[in-house]
Symmetry: D2
Subunit: 287 residues, 4 copies
Amino acid sequence: MDKNQTAVLLMHCEDQRGILAEVTDFIMGNQGNIINLDQHVDSDDNRFYMRIEWELEHFIIPQNKIAEYFETMIVSKFNAIHELHFLPKKINIALFVSQYSHCLLDILSRHESKEWKVNIKCIISNHEKFRGISEKFGIPFHYFPVKKANKTELEAKELALLKEHKVELIILARYMQILSDDFCSNYPNQIINIHHSSLPAFPGARPYESAHRRGVKFMGATAHYVTTDLDEGPIIAQDVIHISHRDSIYDMKRKGRNIEKIVLANACWAHLNHQVLSYNNKTVVFD
Amino acid sequence: MDKNQTAVLLMHCEDQRGILAEVTDFIMGNQGNIINLDQHVDSDDNRFYMRIEWELEHFIIPQNKIAEYFETMIVSKFNAIHELHFLPKKINIALFVSQYSHCLLDILSRHESKEWKVNIKCIISNHEKFRGISEKFGIPFHYFPVKKANKTELEAKELALLKEHKVELIILARYMQILSDDFCSNYPNQIINIHHSSLPAFPGARPYESAHRRGVKFMGATAHYVTTDLDEGPIIAQDVIHISHRDSIYDMKRKGRNIEKIVLANACWAHLNHQVLSYNNKTVVFD
Amino acid sequence: MDKNQTAVLLMHCEDQRGILAEVTDFIMGNQGNIINLDQHVDSDDNRFYMRIEWELEHFIIPQNKIAEYFETMIVSKFNAIHELHFLPKKINIALFVSQYSHCLLDILSRHESKEWKVNIKCIISNHEKFRGISEKFGIPFHYFPVKKANKTELEAKELALLKEHKVELIILARYMQILSDDFCSNYPNQIINIHHSSLPAFPGARPYESAHRRGVKFMGATAHYVTTDLDEGPIIAQDVIHISHRDSIYDMKRKGRNIEKIVLANACWAHLNHQVLSYNNKTVVFD
Amino acid sequence: MDKNQTAVLLMHCEDQRGILAEVTDFIMGNQGNIINLDQHVDSDDNRFYMRIEWELEHFIIPQNKIAEYFETMIVSKFNAIHELHFLPKKINIALFVSQYSHCLLDILSRHESKEWKVNIKCIISNHEKFRGISEKFGIPFHYFPVKKANKTELEAKELALLKEHKVELIILARYMQILSDDFCSNYPNQIINIHHSSLPAFPGARPYESAHRRGVKFMGATAHYVTTDLDEGPIIAQDVIHISHRDSIYDMKRKGRNIEKIVLANACWAHLNHQVLSYNNKTVVFD
């Protein structure tokens, strides 16, 4: 076993006495060295959230038995929702893209420079436009010209491809097609989209034009998990930049691309490091 | 005449050749020394905006004739909308307030420290709560318990008071009553409100609660001119702060107060220095 | 006993196995309900930091014995540095000020509006200028015209006054005198200063002039604990604002005042809520 | 002639009456339609700065004679320093890089997506590391293993290459070699460097380590023209991000890369659009 391997437990449940002590006692009682603990109680929702990471080196319970222990303990006792992950582990990713390249190239760059230690298994697009870029970076490119008429059929093919590649995270890097509810339900909290405005202001298409018309003095970008409600999923990361009357719609789009790609990358980074818990259409991001 | 006195011309009109040259030639041809010129063409709207400030010291045209010249020249020739101001001049202000004191105290502090060189003629409130503070700072306090039934009557009294004091700018420093359309139409682009969210997200009451429920990662404050459309007037200034799951609604309100008072002060400062042009429900702020 | 009373333990020590479990077990074993726990390991310094807050309502150990327990347990076992506080409790504060009123008025406003639940025991100044404001807000004002020659003598009088008022936190709200090392050593981590630049850039006097000369594109404000090294104490809070060539030194000062007062207030708020741990000239701020 | 071609005049000189009128009269008198005018007077330095852009379509003076006219008029009359550019025109660029790829890949992406309409003539490096990336993007790569002993010789070869390619802008995209004074003097205000801190704080190498040690609460990035004073040239763009005790040096570097690449791109964009005037070691950036 890798000396530096760790386990990460993410969990949330109704707030109740003793959860923290129970979990920490269990880990330390089995010789696990806790290296990170972050907890949060949302007193408005009476909900307890925790992320705990410990070294596996001297941990008594064998790695393949840990899940079972927590299953029993946490689910039965606290009625909690939880995830268990082992680090380091390269996550399998698929990128969906349409006609804007800035987010795609930013992610490929982070992969190329080894900032992101992931397997980008494939790039899926409803346009042929970025086949060249994909090949440049050595990633298989798949063209699915999704339209209303063929959506069911093509999404089935996409899903088959994703299953084949054991994809664990789908990144919509400015993908301009709406995924069907069926498709989304296959990857709950595993599809991240970047919306090019500061949701909930300016949902839908053409937010820069709307922002310009309204004369706002800043604009934003929002990365969120995709649910069956368009542009309404839990927000993971947001950022904004100030604009002024000097900024034309063209300038807004140009400046917007900078925050879109950074916000999307930040949200994915948090997800890849198992720092995000989502509940009740909101997220807790332990950074 | 004060050696340092200047004139400020604010104007906007349909974009057309030669406006800039015409105005600068007129001023310089009459020995006015231009010390600030800022212009902007909104190519999406095909609209030309300009702010020009010049020294009156050697200006040939007498101060009381300048308005007439521009009236003739600018209105007739370019079909422009314009304002002419002379600086320095203390502007008469009225503050409207309800039950939150942070914006009120911030403005009184800027007055006390002489950052703002204005005459605060009166404080008007629909509650008695801040009579003490007003008197502490030596400003007359007027209590108008506006309700649906007596709104017409009390607004008439307020208007009379404002006229009597020759008030030129009304600042709604967290005033929780909606002004009637009639009232608003007396002070076009002369009433500034602070809305405690980043409009157009979360208009109306209780924006912090809505923002918390939606799980947004930043929140904002918006200062805007008041029009007959509630929370829909031209935006003058906005700012945002990042928040996280750690922030309760209480924290959001506490942090929100900091940006509310700064954004409101910034918007008023721009207005007081005649830096704001408003057209088509948007502003140009020459800073 | 107040039903809502809580205890806050702040501690830091060399990182070692089992600290977290030991402390949480102790509290929960004595029927204390933990409502907040935040910990941090600085792996670069191998230092463990923790803030833990629990309800006293059913806590078995009497309030006046708690300190003793932790003294024994934490000091002896982990060689930790710690503080123990009980909430809610109004802290006694003294404000030091010279010739700028914006931070002073901002703090007085927060006190007036009850955002800060503190006792402002006195305002101390080396100028008479703000006696009027102090009296307006009903706070005793003390004039100590400190100069090189009389510094030892006057600081002794100031210290006597502070002791008499049982002052626990001194806020230097733009106080332009350097406190002697002797004075500072009486209040370790209990004096907060606001420096009007983004330290470590532009230490010393006249930072705005230096920033303007260097042509920087943003400027900042820094709140820090005062140590015997001028402008070198542990930083609690910082913020910046963007500036451009359009900003004169006058504009920079005007805009700077906005962040100075907010940054100082934020730092004080964190201190008042016992969220700050300071070690090795750095702070951990549990927000 | 391209219908949309414009001329841009950038100039600065001692502030004096009538400059603005003289230049605008000249352009409009020759049927040039001014589409952008931005001017600034630095009253602390008594310096007048202007950027003016006009359409060439009906301009009476032939394009190849314009320079001569301004030479005579502006230099002789106002003792001004000026630049004249024609747009659109693809500028020839060289990228210098060492061992970090984020800025390089960001610029190549902007080129690939046609956000930047430039000719990237070559990539020069003191390491072989990025030959692969360069070739991927079809840009010639040149390896110059500059060391103390061979600096004079290799810089001469670099200069020859740059001259051959008619390079007009050199971007140091995290190039870790100091260029000689001789080299720099060949490209005044034509070499842009990104420094990975908010200058003037933390100049020199390893700024993230210094920032971490000092415990600052934000960190920045600075893009500046390279002069013979290391890290002391005129600042074009800066940005900062907030950090906390939770950020390790690794996190700071990771987050820092995001602002480094954006700040560098913003500075280059302003330069490419002829929006930057530099004087007295400061810049005016007309945005």
